[in-house]
């Protein structure tokens, strides 16, 4: 039996290895994702285009403009004469913020009469607008400080902020676990469900079911290669995190890898469950896409904080396996946790494996008995 099974796995493996296009993507995907998250997905800003409406045009206002643009965060795109022209610039998307310097800037400033600087943002992008406003405010305060005489006022409460586990605020601490969870889910669950759905669609499933191997072993044989491939992908993601983005692995590597296998098993069980339900590859793909990929991306907490979501989504996020796997990875990799402190997520994943396989087995028996 084992010999037949191994021969079967071998055949399936050759099948996959011959398909270079899929292989390229299988390994290209994690690399591309890690690089994209590492280098392009950021809320920091540089060279934001601004317009300055200088209604004074005196020495101090020139100095002020220079002060604002010297940092490199703002790029002066335009010096229009009135506020109304901002509308056109915002609509064309060339400019994100307008700064209005009122008339008599220099005179009022040194007379110490309050001077109001107007910051007008294109708030159709609210986050970007907020970031720009707060940065501009900082710049304005520092300009004001240059001309203030007094030093730090007394009776100041200092707030000492210490960033735990991630003192340099490296984004990779967050996205590496997320990408690992996403890739494992994508490859093992989706590929599994598609592979089995394909056998159904092309009618070769019946052929396999009359072979001497029990059906569950057949399915196992079909998904075995994907288990190995996605495991390699996980290792690839961890390695890129470690070597490129300096994500440490404080805890036990063996623990991390064996828990990755546990998560992988959950993903496979999900894939098998979907495939017992879906009749065609397209159906399997759509179900995988909407029940696996998007929840894994959105509700696992690596792109958007779950705690800030409405409670319905918070509850849904509790049944998203990736959520627990991300917790586990962060605990092991960054906090150096042992298995005792993450026993809760581990237990949940184990329960998921049993429930999902039981459900898949039940469906399978309904169809093939």
């Amino acid at each position: 039996m084992l010999r037949i099974f191994l021969a079967f796995v071998k055949k399936e493996t050759f099948h996959i290895l011959r398909d270079t296009r899929t292989l390229v993507i299988l390994f290209g995907m994690p690399i591309a994702l890690v690089l994209i998250f590492g280098y392009t997905v950021t809320n920091e800003f540089k060279d934001a285009s601004i317009s300055i409406i200088d209604q004074s045009k005196d020495n101090l206002s020139h100095e002020f403009v220079e002060h604002l643009t010297a940092s490199g965060h703002f790029q002066l795109t335009n010096l229009p004469n009135n506020i109304n022209s901002l509308d056109g610039e915002f609509k064309g998307g060339n400019v994100k913020m307008g700064i209005v310097i009122p008339p008599n800037f220099e005179k009022d400033f040194f007379k110490k009469t309050p001077v109001t600087i107007q910051l007008i943002t294109d708030a159709s992008e609210p986050n970007y607008a907020t970031t720009l406003t707060s940065y501009a405010s900082q710049m304005i305060f520092s300009f004001q400080k240059k001309y203030s005489k007094s030093a730090i006022p007394p009776y100041q409460i200092e707030t000492e902020i210490r960033m735990m586990y991630n003192p340099k605020l490296i984004g990779a601490y967050n996205f590496i676990p997320g990408v690992a969870a996403l890739i494992l889910m994508l490859i093992s669950a989706m590929m599994t469900s598609l592979t089995i759905a394909k056998e159904k669609e092309t009618g070769t499933m019946d052929l396999l079911l009359v072979s001497p191997l029990p059906p569950m072993l057949i399915i196992l044989g079909k998904i075995m290669p994907y288990v190995v491939l996605s495991f390699i992908d996980a290792v690839l993601v961890f390695a890129m995190g470690y070597y490129i983005f300096e994500v440490p692995i404080h805890g036990s590597l063996a623990l991390l890898l064996s828990l990755s296998l546990l998560y992988l098993t959950v993903a496979l069980a999900l894939g098998v469950l979907i495939s017992t339900k879906a009749a065609t590859q397209q159906a399997a793909m759509m179900v995988s896409l909407f029940t696996l990929m998007l929840p894994t991306m959105l509700l696992s907490g690596f792109m958007f904080p779950i705690a800030s979501m409405p409670w319905v989504l918070q509850y849904i996020s509790k049944i998203v396996p990736a959520n627990y796997f991300v917790q586990i990875q962060q605990a092991v990799m960054l906090k150096g946790a042992g298995w005792e402190s993450i026993s809760h997520p581990i237990l949940i994943l184990i329960i998921m494996v049993f429930v999902l396989f039981a459900a898949a087995w039940k469906n399978f028996k309904v169809i093939y008995k």
């Binding site: 591309a32 009776y155 200092e158 590859q281 793909m285 909407f290």
Partner: protein, 375 residues
């Protein structure tokens, strides 16, 4: 032309017979829209905060109550020691630990200074770091109050000692800084594109996998007729999807529609044409549906992450910004937001129209060239 009609007719019959596709065009996008709009938010709320109050003075209680008044924090049961609080953070029950040291109030008057410590779980950057920034703000404003309390003459002194710059803030187009107004139009564009791309990518390759394509290939039908016949139904689906999404967006989220719907729909048509070209091109390259789907996912994920939907394109490195030019989703998201929220007119988004037109020509040429009737 008549032959084209028959192909289109056939595709429509198949689409409507396929039980998976209809819900996919109606229920799923609306669900997606709702979930995404709520989930994909960068607003920070419900930050778990543990306050270790070792002073237990009037001031320390005042700080605690000020924080309580902010709706962004969930105060955990006050742990008596920093050590216990550390344990809470380790197990994920606290995002931030705020420690008020013993003798805080006393030292404030004696030494004219005080110190409050924030320990921030910085792994999940946003939740904790943004939370910490809010806390720092709250502490600052508390500081202002008690400083005036302690030495009222400071206020007067300061006013005359240095120049005064005030900041007045106005947020155009979205004065409440509503994140949903920002996300929903973008998500609509992204959804329509993604779905159409996936469906088309799997279409021709499915006919090849099942074998029906061979029967088509022995008919005298021309390449362009076949490709166009495949495209038209999916164009309809995409447009339909956008319409359903816009209605849902209006009814559920009350998104603003400031600009012209004509511009939106005209652009959608153009954009979907380009996306269809990509889908068909992938379909021609792939041997199996599985392959097609995988290739599509690969590009879709890259397109989505780099389209400016979640993080601004302006924040990307210059090199990466160039990669967004051939990304149809990036243009779609931009046009949807500009027109719906700001009321941009055609001339404002003409650049996106032009680029997308070029993309449409390029991708569809690739699709037609790569479709082989002869081996």
């Amino acid at each position: 032309m008549r032959k084209l009609f028959y192909i289109v007719q056939k595709e429509f019959i198949q689409i409507f017979r396929n039980k998976a596709i209809l819900p996919l065009m109606t229920v799923v996008p609306i669900m997606q829209l709702i979930v995404l709009s709520f989930a994909a938010s960068n607003e920070v709320r419900n930050v778990q905060l543990a306050i270790v109050d070792q002073d237990n003075s009037e001031y320390s209680r005042l700080i605690t109550s000020k924080i309580k008044n902010s709706d962004r924090f969930i105060l955990m049961d006050n742990p008596p020691s920093v050590k216990l609080a550390d344990g809470m953070m380790q197990s994920g029950n606290a995002d931030i630990i705020l420690t008020i040291p013993p003798q805080f109030e006393k030292n404030f008057f004696k030494n004219k200074t005080g110190e409050i410590q924030l320990l921030v779980n910085a792994i999940n950057g946003q939740q904790a770091t943004v939370g910490a920034a809010y806390l720092a703000q709250i502490i600052q404003s508390f500081n202002q109050e008690i400083r005036l309390d302690a030495v009222p003459q400071l206020a007067v002194m300061k006013q005359f000692s240095s120049p005064q710059l005030r900041i007045e803030n106005s947020n155009w187009y979205n004065p409440d800084l509503s994140y949903k107004d920002f996300m929903v139009p973008g998500i609509l564009g992204e959804l329509a594109t993604l779905l159409v791309m996936l469906l088309t990518a799997m279409n021709i390759v499915r006919e090849r996998e099942i074998g029906t394509i061979e029967q088509i290939n022995v008919t005298p039908i021309k390449k362009w007729q076949f490709i166009l016949g495949k495209m038209i139904p999916f164009l309809f689906i995409g447009m339909f999807l956008l319409t359903v999404g816009m209605i849902a967006g209006k009814l559920i989220f009350d998104i603003p529609i400031v600009g012209s719907l004509w511009v939106i729909f005209a652009y959608c048509l153009l954009n979907l044409t380009a996306v269809l070209g990509i889908g068909l091109f992938i379909s021609n390259l792939a041997d199996t549906q599985q392959q097609a789907m995988f290739i599509t996912f690969f590009f879709a994920i890259i397109f989505i992450l780099m389209c400016g939907l979640f993080t601004p394109i302006e924040s990307m490195p210059k090199m990466a910004q160039y990669f967004t030019i051939p990304n149809p989703i990036a243009h779609f998201v931009h046009v949807m937001r500009s027109v719906l929220l700001k009321g941009s007119e055609f001339s404002d988004v003409a650049y996106n129209f032009k680029v997308t037109a070029v993309l449409a020509v390029v991708f569809n040429s690739l699709a037609i060239l790569s479709y082989r009737k002869v081996s």
